[in-house]
């Protein structure tokens, strides 16, 4: 049959083969059979929880499995009547028995039957992938043919307490701004999701669907725990608190950032951190941070040396107000102070080069004069004057030349910056969810036309697995 997915059977057979193959090994090591069983159990559970094979243990191909965890209070309701679980067309839920409900774990597994299910509040659902969701509101779960995505009216669900709400899919991704308020209140971070049509075809992107399995949400009971579990189970967690498809603005991470580059921060945030009029760009923020830190270090140094060198004391108050006045000249100030105080760490090139060319020019004059003097102190005494003049000319010429190359360099960098392939592309480029692991029979290239003859491959697209005996393709580079 075309709809039979060969992957689960293949995986199951591989697992069986492996377990049987290592049984002797385990016996030789003196390890109990129980450990082997545990290994098998762990392995199967992980494969099941992954999205690779939804129906790993089921014969049904197109139905995901999710587990109902019912609170005790719901037992009687469900045992007494199935009205709360409305099953149209009189079809019973497969493998959904009250006997299972009576267990202490209060869990029951069943596959989504493909028709709407009314789920009352207080029900916890766990998807095959391990995500936990609790039902906050009595909800009807439907299966739509649209693209699976997160529903926008989460807030509506919260507001509609006590009312069953029928929620459909094919809503665009949540606006992060709308959930900004909820970021600070983890209780409210819950998503209402729907069953995707991945069940029928593999064309739907699994990235969306990992969230869009038929999950329904939680009563206020253990919201935080469930939310944290849901968040932890999200593979996409990053610097932001990220829920399916939702990226919260970095205000959430505000408290963690100090002295570090703040990504995407508005100007107001940098003002809060530095307390002065600052550039709103990210670069500006970084420079301000760095220059601020440099200035503080210099201040500390100055204060430390202040008692030793009196002339510095006079410089201190003068430098401080200057820095306070114009925060943009902090770099200049730092260079000036460093020139005056600590010659050995003058940085002429590099990042300190662009800001004060005049300062650097004069510094170079001084250095060149000193250099020439050192080389031939005796003979060049007469020539020192000439050297000075020459060096002045050279310095002027150099400064002019340097300025030009500097300017050119500065100009060239942006101009030629596009020539180089950024190294950052490479590691990111090879980091993808869609991977094919296979063997090649032949790889053919003609100019920029490539042909691939592959075999015995396992494909993983957005978590879902496929296999092939042979694959032929071509591409243009």
């Amino acid at each position: 049959m075309a709809c039979v997915n060969p992957v689960p059977k293949l995986y199951r057979s591989v697992i069986e083969d492996v377990i049987e193959g290592v049984r002797d090994l385990f016996a030789e090591e003196g390890i109990e059979e129980q450990v082997l069983k545990e290994l098998k159990q762990l392995w199967e559970t992980k494969v099941l929880q992954s999205k690779a094979t939804e129906d790993f243990f089921r014969n049904n191909v197109h139905s995901p499995v999710f587990t109902l965890q019912l609170p005790n209070s719901l037992h009687q309701t469900l045992q007494s009547s199935t009205a709360s679980l409305v099953i149209p067309a009189g079809r019973p839920l497969p493998s959904f028995t009250t006997a299972e409900l009576s267990t202490s774990n209060s869990s029951a597994s069943f596959t989504f039957p493909g028709y709407p299910i009314h789920v009352p509040a207080g029900v916890t659902l766990q998807t095959a992938s391990g995500h936990l969701y609790k039902v906050n509101v009595p909800i009807v779960v439907t299966q739509t043919s649209g693209r699976a995505s997160i529903l926008h009216p989460i807030q509506q669900v919260f507001q509609q307490l006590g009312q069953p709400s029928l929620i459909q899919t094919s809503v665009p991704r949540l606006n992060p701004c709308s959930l900004h308020a909820t970021a600070e209140k983890p209780k409210r971070i819950e998503t209402v999701l729907h069953q995707p049509t991945i069940l029928h075809s593999g064309t739907v992107d699994r990235k969306h669907l990992e969230n869009a399995t038929s999950d329904i949400l939680a009563p206020p009971g253990n919201e935080r725990e469930i939310m944290s579990e849901a968040l932890l189970s999200q593979p996409e967690s990053s610097q932001y608190i990220r829920l399916p498809g939702v990226v919260f603005p970095p205000q959430v991470s505000q408290t963690h950032v100090h002295g570090e580059p703040v990504l995407g921060v508005a100007g107001s945030m940098t003002q809060n951190l530095n307390g002065g009029p600052l550039s709103t760009g990210r670069q500006g923020a970084q420079h301000q941070h760095m220059s601020d830190i440099q200035l503080r270090v210099l201040k500390n140094r100055m204060f430390g040396c202040g008692s030793v060198k009196q002339p510095r004391n006079t410089e201190e108050p003068s430098s401080l107000p200057v820095s306070e006045k114009d925060s943009n000249s902090q770099m200049d100030l730092s260079i000036q102070v460093m020139d005056d105080d600590i010659n050995e760490i003058i940085q002429i090139d590099g990042t300190g080069d662009t800001s004060s060319n005049d300062e650097i020019g004069t510094t170079r004059d001084v250095e060149e004069n000193e250099f020439l003097g050192i080389i031939d102190a005796g003979d060049l005494k007469v020539l020192e004057e000439e050297a000075d003049s020459i060096s002045n000319e050279d310095s002027t010429a150099n400064s002019s030349d340097n300025e030009d190359p500097q300017i050119d360099v500065v100009e060239e960098d942006p101009l030629n910056s596009g020539d180089d392939v950024s190294e950052q592309d490479v590691p990111d480029l090879f980091d993808t969810d869609n991977v094919i692991v296979c063997q090649y029979d032949k790889i053919h290239r003609s100019k920029n036309k490539w042909k691939f003859y592959l075999k015995d491959g396992v494909m993983c697209f957005g978590g879902r697995d496929y296999v092939f005996a042979k694959a032929i393709g071509d591409a243009e580079w």
Partner: protein, 112 residues
């Protein structure tokens, strides 16, 4: 030795994770875990060679071959905007990485 290439699949990774858990709980030794993985390599290689029979074609819809790399007799490609067509279904991806080992001399690669 069969290719260890397939350890980086869902099946292989879940096996490795399970073995890691058992090692951490000191129920098995790392040596034994390695033996299990070797057994897995053999099993998956033979299963793919013998039990899988389907064919897949793929070509970029409007994408292309982004990068190619050949190192240690292994190819790594990154393709953009590709669709994979099987008899039963069509799968579209915006980016896919293909890691391929030499399949011509698998007999010589399999040693005991």
């Amino acid at each position: 030795m069969a290719y260890q290439l397939y350890r980086n699949t869902t099946l292989g990774n879940s096996l490795q994770e399970s073995l890691d858990e058992l090692i951490q709980s000191q129920q098995i030794t790392p040596q034994l875990a390695l033996q299990v993985l070797l057994q897995f390599d053999k099993a998956i290689n033979s299963a793919l060679a013998q039990r899988v029979r389907n064919r897949v074609n793929f070509r970029p819809m409007y994408g292309s071959l982004n990068t190619y790399r050949f190192c240690d007799n292994g190819w790594t490609f990154v393709l953009n905007d590709v669709e994979f067509r099987e008899v039963t279904e069509l799968i579209k991806v915006d980016k896919v990485k293909i890691v391929a080992c030499d399949g011509k001399n698998t007999g010589s690669n399999t040693t005991e």
